[in-house]
């Protein structure tokens, strides 16, 4: 198989590819490099509150790399457990979104087109309000004297209010609520394309409906599930607003640590180091996933050609 290299691309292809690459370089790569730079600086009082990496003094270029942030990060167990806790919370959120979102996406995809648009609108509707407001609404619902507790006590199900607000449970509720649409939409886009004749073929060959779902629908919808899971997992790990507003003092998440370092401690290098490690943490599974995908595609192509 011929390997495509950059030099083979004609000018026209370059022109179409350039804008997205420029966008990515300008708004993703450049800011990240700035953060990376800050993460290797040392703390300093002043504006900006960190030491420059390279200095030109007496016609001598001195490069000072400080690993203080990274050293602290790996020596203080607080940071490590925060990473673990963030990943765990994001993973549980993703799993719950999958369990709740799959049936919803499936139902929407199987509805008649007119109903389908209405349901999709329902999924997208929350985006019309600011996330901040919606999370505030959850504070109102989950508080000890909030809607949920009042309602349950009025029903007589409980005598004393349930302690949900300012616990991890509240954070889970908030995260699942906020990220559910991000799981539903890509999965819906996948499920709606599924050829119903494949299911008919499965029934025709003797598969009961649930067996047809497990052997046909589920495996064929995996790309949608993975896309949705990525869209939920990655932003959940770094989420700040929801754990801040719904979580307790002991709810450990990366977003809050970053905030504290940047704004409360004014320790920019430390905050930058925390950020860089988090990006790395998220990048590795993404790259592995992408690599596997490409490899699979290549294997398929080679088989087709061979």
């Amino acid at each position: 198989m011929k390997k495509i290299s950059w030099h083979d691309l004609p000018l026209r292809r370059w022109l179409t590819l350039a804008p997205p690459f420029a966008w990515l370089a300008l708004f993703l790569l450049l800011p990240f490099l700035l953060v990376l730079k800050i993460s290797f600086a040392d703390l300093k009082f002043g504006v900006p509150p960190y030491t420059p990496l390279a200095e030109l003094k007496d016609e001598m270029l001195t490069l000072t790399l400080s690993l203080r942030g990274y050293a602290l990060l790996f020596s203080d167990s607080l940071y490590i457990s925060t990473y673990l806790s963030s990943v765990k919370m994001a993973a549980v959120t993703t799993l719950c979104c999958a369990l709740i979102g799959y049936p919803m996406a499936y139902y929407i995809a199987r509805s008649s087109p007119s109903v389908r648009n209405l349901l999709l609108l329902g999924v997208i509707l929350p985006f019309w309000t600011s996330l901040l407001l919606r999370v505030y609404a959850w504070v109102g619902i989950l508080r000890n004297d909030g809607l949920l507790n009042n309602f349950l006590m009025w029903l007589g199900v409980i005598d004393a209010p349930l302690e949900i607000y300012r616990t991890d449970l509240a954070v889970y509720i908030g995260l699942i609520y906020a990220y559910l649409p991000f799981f539903i939409l890509p999965l819906y886009a996948n499920l709606v394309k599924l050829d119903v004749r494949l299911l008919e073929a499965a029934y025709d060959l003797g598969a009961r409906p649930w067996k047809a779902f497990l052997t046909i629908t589920l495996p064929l919808s995996m790309p949608g599930v993975i896309a949705g899971a990525m869209l939920v997992f990655i932003p959940s790990v770094g989420e700040y607003v929801i754990p801040e507003m719904l979580g307790g003092a002991d709810t450990l998440m990366m977003g809050r640590v970053m905030w504290t370092e940047f704004f409360n401690n004014a320790d920019w290098p430390m905050a930058a180091a925390v950020t860089c490690v988090m990006v790395l943490l998220l990048l590795v599974p993404l790259v592995v996933f992408q690599y596997n995908q490409v490899k699979q595609l290549e294997v398929q192509k080679r088989r087709r050609n061979g």
Partner: protein, 375 residues
Amino acid sequence: MDNRSAASPWSGDADEFVRIEDIVKIYGDTVAVQSVSLSVRRHEIFALLGSSGCGKSTLLRMLAGFEEATSGRIYLDNEDITSLPPYRRPVNMMFQSYALFPHMTVEANVAFGLRQEGVPRNEIHERVFEALDLVQMAGYARRKPHQLSGGQQQRVALARSLVKRPKLLLLDEPMSALDKQIRQRTQIELVKILEQVGVTCIMVTHDQEEAMTMADRLAVMTEGQIIQCGTPQEVYTFPNSRFVAGFIGSTNLFTGTIVVDEADHVLIESADLTRPLYVNHGISEPLGMEVHVSVRPEHIRVLREQPESESNWGHGMVSHVAWMGSYARYQVRLDAGMVVEAAVPGQVLAQAEAPGLDDEVYVAWSSDSATVLPS
């Protein structure tokens, strides 16, 4: 109305295997299939022929169990399968688009049906390769469907629908996804495989050539009803209506009124022809009634001299000649304006000096090649 007694003509057939009794399918306010009754014999290849929207596919889907009949019953091998779900019917279908599972290998696709039955693993393997051998696809067992050509996919789909040894095989437009060049060869191959397996088969097609090539018997459908049912030769030779005559092959239709009605022949006067039409079979229509007479293009001769007979010919001018290889397709515009189509065999063309474009000619046919169509 008691439909049981109306359905009795079929119950006498000892070979009857599939019996469709007064099947009706209504979607909302459209009637897709209206009161179809049909009987298919054991080991027969039966074709439902019609243009799109005629209800043939709906009928097939009701046989597979994907659609529920509004009323009527379907019997397979003396068992009422009308309300069985598709996964409990001893019926398998080869889909128009094949519907192969894209994430499974050829082997897994064929094995799928047997897995659902809980057949032991070594037996599955044996039967899968038996089926793949039958369609000559055993060498492709490890491939995925997208790595196969259209013809190969079709054979895998066939193996998949035969591997469970269904009592009834359904084919939905089996050739529509294939290139025209390989269709004819594939049709014959498919018939050979079906005969080898000995399975009863109902196929749906809009292609009359395909139905004539493959089917033992066929039914012509339009507007949710069966208009005529019989062997390809019967339906071609004795169409019972203008629709069937035009649908099965092409034909020339003369409109006229009956002027002489004897037991052994009728004479029909048509505004399209200066001479009357003489048809040597009696009909049940009354004198003076308007009827249509069908004459197939291959029965029409194109002559330079005026025929001696008193009837069954017309005068006109060649308006178009298409050389088809083994025959030439002539279009002759009659003096009254009607265009008659004639298929002239190659050897006839070679013998005489063949008429060319704009030549004055006579078209003629024998009295036994014309058929009177009442509707």
